[in-house]
């Protein structure tokens, strides 16, 4: 068997393990699905009148607008949950056993990220289904839905890279769990939940440069309108930026972990 095939099997096995682990523990799945769903329902019902504000983009309903926000929240929390699970593995000594196995180190991180990507995919499908059940239309049809799914899945993997880096660096589940509020802060100061033009300062200015705004717009555009090449490109670039940041941080954290044991 070639080295590539062996590595692919390792990544697949570790990815499947992390998915099973998440679905077995309600405290890991709840943040990914339950909280964003509750918030989606409440924000749609509570702030739905916002579509009548001057300057609000033309949408079929506030739910249609908010689906991208819910997906963003879900993928961010999937990345955070992946980091927590990796930190638990480090605390329990499971990662040490993997380090001593004849497998490349990157496969260990990639396996965890594969699991995070699968959770991102699950989140995207979940919220698409919720949107369709409650009457939201995907304006650009199946291609638009597929584009949104791909962007959400890859963004979950990218964000998971940063979660993995923090887990590797600190080796503490409680530290990674403590980032949960930070995840919400970063998301609130993006255009995930509201049009950037209608936000209040300083959130409005910060949202203009927040990479999550670009991803949110890339996911939202095919749902409320047609696929926009520029929006998609910006979203892909933002995801790539987060991937590079996650790779650099993970590589450094991995070296640190191997040095300190």
């Amino acid at each position: 068997m070639s080295a590539l095939a062996v590595n692919a099997r390792v990544v697949r096995a570790l990815g499947m393990r992390s998915i099973r682990q998440t679905f077995r523990r309600p405290q890991l799945i709840a943040p990914i699905v339950v909280f964003p769903t509750i918030l989606l329902a409440i924000q749609t019902g509570g702030a739905g009148g916002a579509v009548e504000l001057p300057g609000f983009p033309p949408v079929q309903s506030f739910l249609q607008f908010m689906l991208a926000g819910a997906m963003m929240q879900s993928l961010m929390l999937a990345g955070n949950s992946g980091g927590i699970a990796l930190a638990v593995d480090i605390e329990m000594g499971f990662t040490d056993r993997l380090f001593s196995a004849p497998i490349p180190r990157f496969a260990i991180v990639l396996g965890r990220l594969a699991g995070t990507a699968a959770l991102g995919l699950f989140g995207a499908l979940w919220f698409l289904a919720i949107g369709l059940i409650f009457g939201a239309e995907i304006e650009s049809g199946v291609p638009g839905a597929l584009l949104a799914i791909v962007l959400v899945t890859s963004a979950a993997m990218a964000v998971g890279g940063i979660g993995a880096a923090i887990a590797l660096r600190t080796g503490s589940a409680s530290v990674v769990q403590g980032l949960f509020p930070l995840v919400l802060v970063v998301l609130f100061i993006s255009s995930a939940f509201f049009p950037q033009e209608l936000m209040i300062e300083p959130a409005k200015t910060i949202a203009q440069y927040n990479p999550l705004s670009f991803i949110a717009e890339g996911v939202r555009e095919p749902m409320i309108s047609e696929i926009d090449a520029a929006d998609t490109l910006y979203a892909v670039l933002a995801i790539l930026g987060i991937v590079v940041l996650g790779l650099v941080l993970s590589a450094r954290a991995l070296r640190h972990r191997l040095r300190v044991g």
Binding site: F35, L53, F188
Partner: protein, 263 residues
């Protein structure tokens, strides 16, 4: 001699409640980091919701032009919800570690053990509420007046007691910290399916229906009145009644589970 040393039951019960509250206070002093999520979460919600949905006050039907003033009592009550739920998580931890078993073999009545947890949560809830209020006032929220402030803080403390009863009920039922998401999600749903984001008339149909029957709507309106206008008895008593009802129902459930535990 024995008669001279005998302590009246009510004094012994008070001392036990005081000791349990002191334990919760010590936990706060010794592990200050444990209080940070309870303070941070409502603050983040306040800042986030204000930054994101602040423009909603441009819609006809808002009783104030300041979304800070409109949303700050919601964030204070959210802090109470998080703190009360955290009391449930702590109780679940005590069950897992065997601490509650030791309390159960003591001569203290079960309701006293529950009361200690609930009152400690009420007192702790004043910390995030004060923090959120300070931030809100600094950002321009209206001063609610001393009477408005007193009503709001009373609502916060009582709401924390409601959340602590809910958290304790689940902790005693499931005997595991894994029930934490249910404790938090339950309180979040109860507090936010109200007029939290917008006045009743501006809510979407289904949420409007739920908010009408959700007793916490009256609690939020009572806590909010000082921030968006004046304090009146007509806006206060429905909130008090709602809290009394919630405490009666959830307190009974929690007490029933406490009595069943270990038997």
């Amino acid at each position: 001699m024995e008669a001279a040393l005998a302590i009246p039951a009510w004094r012994a019960n008070l001392a036990t409640i005081g000791a349990l509250m002191a334990r919760a206070k010590n936990e706060l002093i010794r592990v200050p980091g444990a209080a940070i999520p309870g303070v941070l979460a409502p603050t983040i919600f306040f800042l986030g919701l204000n930054g994101v949905f602040g423009a909603l006050t441009q819609l006809n039907g808002f009783s104030t032009g300041s979304y800070e003033s409109f949303i700050v009592p919601v964030s204070m009550l959210q802090g109470a919800g998080f703190t009360g739920a955290a009391a449930g998580v702590n109780l679940a931890r005590d069950i897992e570690q065997g601490w509650l078993d030791r309390l159960l073999v003591s001569p203290a009545p079960r309701w006293v053990l529950l009361m200690g947890t609930v009152l400690a949560a009420s007192a702790r809830a004043l910390i995030p509420a004060s923090f959120v209020l300070a931030i809100a006032l600094a950002l321009g929220a209206g001063w609610p007046g001393l009477d408005g402030l007193a009503v709001t803080f009373f609502m916060v403390a009582a709401m924390a007691a409601v959340a602590a009863c809910w958290g304790s009920f689940l902790a005693l039922r499931f005997k595991s910290q894994s029930a934490a998401p249910l404790m938090q999600a339950g309180m979040m749903a109860l507090i936010l399916t109200t007029t939290a984001y917008a006045p009743l008339a501006l809510l979407q149909g289904w949420l409007q229906d739920i908010a009408r029957v959700n007793p916490v709507t009256d609690v939020i309106e009572a806590a909010r009145q000082g921030f968006v206008g004046g304090v009146t008895w007509a806006d206060t008593w429905p909130g008090l009644l709602a809290l009394a009802g919630l405490l009666a129902v959830l307190g009974t459930l929690a007490l029933r589970e406490m009595r069943r535990t270990g038997r």
